[in-house]
């Protein structure tokens, strides 16, 4: 196995572009190192991106937060402005693994691992986060929900690296939240995860909303039909019931060791309801 620690993003993308298929990007390593323990896993090339300038920084601009691909999730929790702007995203990122894991793991890595159960991804999708991708042909930006294409699979082309996740500064009277279901209290993987981000109009009713579901399909998915149920409402009981029903209906989970189809569909609705209420309160809404 070859280990490279390039100092520029161009060198990193060039290494990956030239490598065989068993080449991997190393940021926090909390997924990669676990995989490397597996007898059937062989890596020919590991490209550590932590020495690339800017990768470990959260940069606040006039209209956004740019989270470098190697920023550990714990660091997000220490960024006051980010916590105030995107509490749901930060909370989701700090549900991953354990305290020790959070000191290493990254949201970009969580996204590229392409697990439908990734905790930070539904929150990022709800927040309309963008992934800034560096590749042999330059830089492109795509919506986070377009990165995963299936369990363990992404839309990234050979040689491409997500160099940053970009979160626009939230508008006034908006709020986000993420809730997941795990059978334990921590150190577990989401059986269902729901991210909700909403903004209120001058009357205090929901003006716009994004709902993202995790672990109930092959990828984290944006659920516009669920979002529609809340527009124009103040999250009255009927609206919440409609939201829950829409989330349950949109879920296409499987029976597996982590949960059943019925359980996941039902709990997707429950969590959506609860997350919407938190986001609503964060947006300054009142019923």
């Amino acid at each position: 196995m070859r280990y490279e620690r390039p100092e520029t993003i161009m060198d990193a993308t060039a290494l990956l572009a030239q490598a065989s298929d068993s080449a991997f990007v190393l940021a926090g390593g909390t997924d990669l190192l676990v995989k490397m323990q597996n007898d059937d896993f062989e890596a020919e090339l590991v490209v550590d991106i932590k020495s690339i300038a800017g990768m470990a920084d959260v940069v606040e601009t006039d209209d956004s937060f740019v989270i470098g691909a190697a920023v550990p999730c714990a660091a997000l929790g220490e960024h006051e402005a980010l916590c105030a702007a995107w509490p749901g995203v930060v909370e989701a990122a700090n549900l991953i693994g354990s305290t020790q894991i959070q000191g290493r793991c990254t949201v970009a890595g969580n996204l590229c691992n392409a697990s439908p159960a990734a905790d930070s991804v539904p929150a990022l999708v709800a927040a309309n986060a963008q992934a800034r991708i560096a590749g042999p042909d330059g830089i492109r930006t795509v919506a986070v929900e377009d990165i995963p294409t299936g369990p363990g699979k992404t839309s990234l082309a050979k040689g491409e690296i997500i160099e940053a996740i970009v979160l626009a500064k939230p508008t006034d009277r908006s709020g986000d939240a993420y809730l997941r279901f795990i059978p334990r209290t921590e150190m577990d993987i989401a059986v269902v995860g729901v991210g909700v981000c909403l903004a209120l109009n001058d009357d205090g009713a929901v003006a716009s909303v994004r709902v993202a579901l995790g672990a109930v399909g092959p990828t984290v998915m944006l659920c516009p039909e669920a979002a529609e149920t809340l527009v124009g409402t103040k999250l009255e009981d009927a609206a919440l019931e409609a939201l829950a029903a829409a989330c349950s209906a949109a879920s296409t989970p499987i029976d597996d060791k982590r949960g059943t189809v019925d359980f996941r569909k039902q709990v997707a609705g429950v969590l959506a309801r609860r997350a919407a209420l938190i986001a609503f309160e964060r947006a300054g809404g009142s019923q």
């Binding site: 279901f181 059978p183 334990r184 921590e186 949960g259 059943t260 359980f263």
Partner: protein, 753 residues
């Protein structure tokens, strides 16, 4: 020297205190050496090839390419572990489990192993071993394995314990029945009857340290094994038997142990490591991965249990019956039998009958797990008792007190009880503040009782008084739960010296006589008895040395408060001699001073506990949180109360995990789906509240200090206590363990519909 083990009430100075454990600093600083921490010069790395199939005939195996790989020093298959078991079916099962012979009987069953110069080479070599399997139909469920057209695992297995002997093979290895009285007559007398079926899923002991060993076979026929085990003498015997070694030539040293809970009472990888070392002529280290630990070691039985209990309107139970089916993996076990024996052990019953069926399935060979088989039986019975109380409209604790076994009760499994703790634990529960604390919304309370036999067994120890007056204690029971601290307290107590002046070690098999393994909650019970005996033998020698020093008859020297003293007034001017004084002169008075002991520790004294559990259940998700938990258990005498409390809490924690989330999940292909701690969900710290404990001390008449084993009983009630709490919280009887959120939510949905 004969040893009187009878209980004598006395004031104790060291026993009952809470000093720091002698192995603590090494463990928290990482200096302690566990199974994988031992290395030898020239050591090879071993890896095991395991069956990916639940049930398959091994048609052909070719190890040639693996053997030819550079760096590979040995490849072994069943051919390298020839059958030396001489008709001993139990030992053959151990052999076949260590290395599959004609058939792979479960996903993870070892079929070959390699020893190579490094891990990478060993892994590569595994991929070069060609195995042709003929896949056979499999069965993993205990009930499915019993039906008439189930795939048969073993064509030569006919159900035992039935008359006449069957002439068709079956997956039911044995039927065992216990009880007394006439249950039919008892049920006819009953005003109320509850009857229900229960299921529990298979769980693993979940020890944090995987199995690990270093084996070294020498050309002269001697061999050494460094291993993480609960019983190095037993491992020595098993390995010697399986490899055809002389017992005296195999020296086994036990490492520190990162948890066993019964799972390290069985050999898995050790005979394979020895076979590899014998073939390679070099030391071999074999460390199992977590995946291998789950797939091929442990676990406990999955069960299916029917219970029927009848009672008069006043609460007196008139009859009780249970039918218990326990899976034992692919080889016969005696797990259902233990379940059948323990089912109703807490109660004083006129009419009781239990029947246990041992069922073989395509899952790993079942191993002991802390009070093996009792928790599942207690889950079923204590759930039924709870339901009976509700049906009768009486308080659950009062119903249990009314029917509790007591001294003189003929137990449901045969023997008549001596002084026992079930009544006192129930009375303590009744008056415990936990029992009357208010409950909030979506909360429920449950309680349950539990029983375990406890064991004593063969024990041998040495106590050496050093020239500086300190004491080295060598014991042969592996310290899994703090026994070195407890035994040091015992030695200090007997000799009248300070705890800090005693250093206890676990001796290897070459330096001490045979000891049974640390199971059956016997470690502190039996080794403390041997320690007391050894200390008393050392005192006899010290008295003789004092007599010699003083030149007076030994009969005039007595031992008191850690000193030899001259009896009577005629020696009034002789100042007492301390252990230190006598030890300092030992070179001039006859040489080293030591006390030895070998004994069979009888009368372990049965053990009882009562647990109280409060839960809160989220009715929308089925998620359960344990909000309060209390363990009340009889310890006989708590030698080191902190470790007794630790045993109570540890058993409760494991039982809660079993009750709520832990289970082996198999796919339709018979492969284990969750062979890791991510998806095999033992509780994490934040899942549990601080578990309250109350130690009762009802002296065991068969131990000088009244000690009873305390290690296992604490895992018996939690399944039932938690299930009763959840059932009471949600208003639906939960009869399937674990009560995972999907199961609870499904039960609630069914109730709502």
């Amino acid at each position: 020297m004969s040893f009187d083990a009878a209980y004598q009430s006395q004031k104790l100075k060291s026993v009952g205190t809470r000093p720091l454990r002698p192995d603590g600093v090494d463990k928290v600083t990482g200096r302690a050496r566990y199974g994988a921490d031992f290395n030898m010069p020239g050591q090879l790395v071993a890896r095991v090839l395991r069956s990916p199939h639940a049930h398959a005939r091994i048609v052909r195996m070719d190890t040639g390419a693996a053997e030819a790989l550079k760096g590979v020093k040995a490849v072994v298959t069943a051919a390298d572990l020839p059958d030396l078991t001489n008709g001993d079916a139990e030992l053959f099962a151990v052999l076949d489990n260590c290395m599959a012979r004609t058939k792979a009987l479960y996903d993870g069953h070892a079929v070959a192993a390699v020893a190579a110069i490094d891990e990478r080479t060993a892994k590569q070599a595994l991929k070069l071993i060609e195995v042709e399997y003929e896949i056979l139909p499999h069965v993993v469920d205990v009930d499915a394995a019993m039906v008439a057209d189930a795939p048969i695992l073993n064509d030569e297995l006919f159900t035992g314990g039935v008359d006449p002997k069957p002439d068709t093979p079956s997956n039911v290895a044995n039927r065992a029945e216990f009880g007394h009285g006439d249950v039919d007559a008892g049920f006819a007398e009953a005003d109320f009857i509850v009857e229900r079926s229960y299921k529990t899923e298979q769980t693993h002991q979940g020890y944090i340290e995987p199995h690990a060993c270093v084996a070294s076979c020498n050309p002269d026929g001697t061999a050494e094994l460094w291993v993480c085990t609960q019983g190095h003498f037993v491992f020595r015997q098993n390995c010697a038997d399986l490899l055809g070694l002389e017992v005296s030539k195999l020296r086994v040293t036990s490492s520190e142990i990162g948890g066993g809970f019964g799972g390290k009472t069985h050999v898995w990888a050790e005979p394979v490591a020895l076979a590899l070392s014998r073939k390679a002529g070099r030391p071999v280290k074999l460390v199992m991965s977590r995946d291998e630990v789950f797939r091929a070691s442990g676990p406990t039985s999955a069960t299916s249990i029917d219970v029927k209990i009848g009672a008069k309107a006043d609460g007196k139970i008139t009859a009780a019956m249970a039918t218990l089916r326990y899976s034992s993996g692919p080889y016969p076990g005696m797990w259902a039998e233990l379940g059948a024996m323990t089912s109703f052990a807490c109660y004083d019953l006129e009419n009781v009958k239990t029947v246990g069926f041992e069922v073989i399935v395509n899952r790993p060979k079942v191993a002991a797990y802390r009070a093996p088989s009792a928790p599942m039986a207690a889950f079923a019975v204590e759930s039924a008792i709870d339901e009976l109380a509700q049906k009768l409209g009486v308080n659950a604790v009062e119903l249990r007190i009314k029917n509790a076994a007591r001294e003189g009760t003929k137990s449901s499994y045969g023997p008549v009880y001596g002084p026992i703790g079930i009544g006192p634990t129930l009375e303590a529960a009744q008056s415990h503040p936990h029992m009357s604390a208010p409950l909030g919304k979506n909360q429920g309370r449950g309680m349950a009782c539990g029983f375990w036999f406890n064991f004593g067994g063969q024990t041998c120890s040495d106590l050496n008084v050093n020239a500086d007056g300190t004491v080295a204690l060598a014991v042969g029971t592996v310290d899994v739960g703090g026994s070195r601290a407890s035994l040091s307290l015992i030695a200090a107590e007997e000799l009248g010296i300070d705890y800090k002046d005693v250093k206890a070690v676990v001796a290897d098999t070459a330096t001490l006589g045979y000891n049974d393994m640390t199971d059956g909650s016997r470690g502190t019970f039996s080794s403390s008895m041997a320690t007391i005996s050894a200390a008393r033998n050392a005192i006899a020698i010290m008295r003789a040395r004092a007599a010699l020093t003083w030149d007076i008859p030994v009969e005039d020297v007595y031992w008191e408060d850690g000193h030899a003293k001259a009896a009577g007034t005629k020696y009034g001017n002789l100042s007492p001699l301390s252990v230190r004084d006598i030890a300092a002169e030992s070179g001039n008075t006859g040489g080293p001073i030591a006390g030895h002991s070998e004994l069979v520790a009888d009368g372990a004294g049965v053990s009882f506990a009562t647990h109280i559990c409060d839960v809160e259940v989220d009715p929308e998700t089925g998620a359960t949180s344990i909000i309060r938990y209390t363990v009340i258990q009889d310890a006989g005498k708590a030698v080191h109360p902190s470790y007794v409390e630790g045993q109570y809490q540890g058993g409760a924690a494991q039982g809660i995990g079993w009750a709520l989330n832990e289970e082996y999940i198999y796919g339709a292909d018979g492969r284990l789906q969750n062979s890791g701690f991510l998806d095999y969900r033992i509780p994490v710290c934040s899942d549990l509240p601080m578990i309250d404990t109350q130690i009762l001390e009802i002296p065991n008449p068969n131990h000088p200090y009244g000690v009873r084993g305390v290690g296992e009983t604490s895992i018996v009630p939690p399944l039932a206590a938690t299930a009763n709490a959840v059932s009471n919280a949600v208003g639906v009887r939960m009869s399937h363990i674990p009560m995972s959120p999907p199961r609870i939510l499904a039960a609630l949905n069914a109730e709502r519909d």
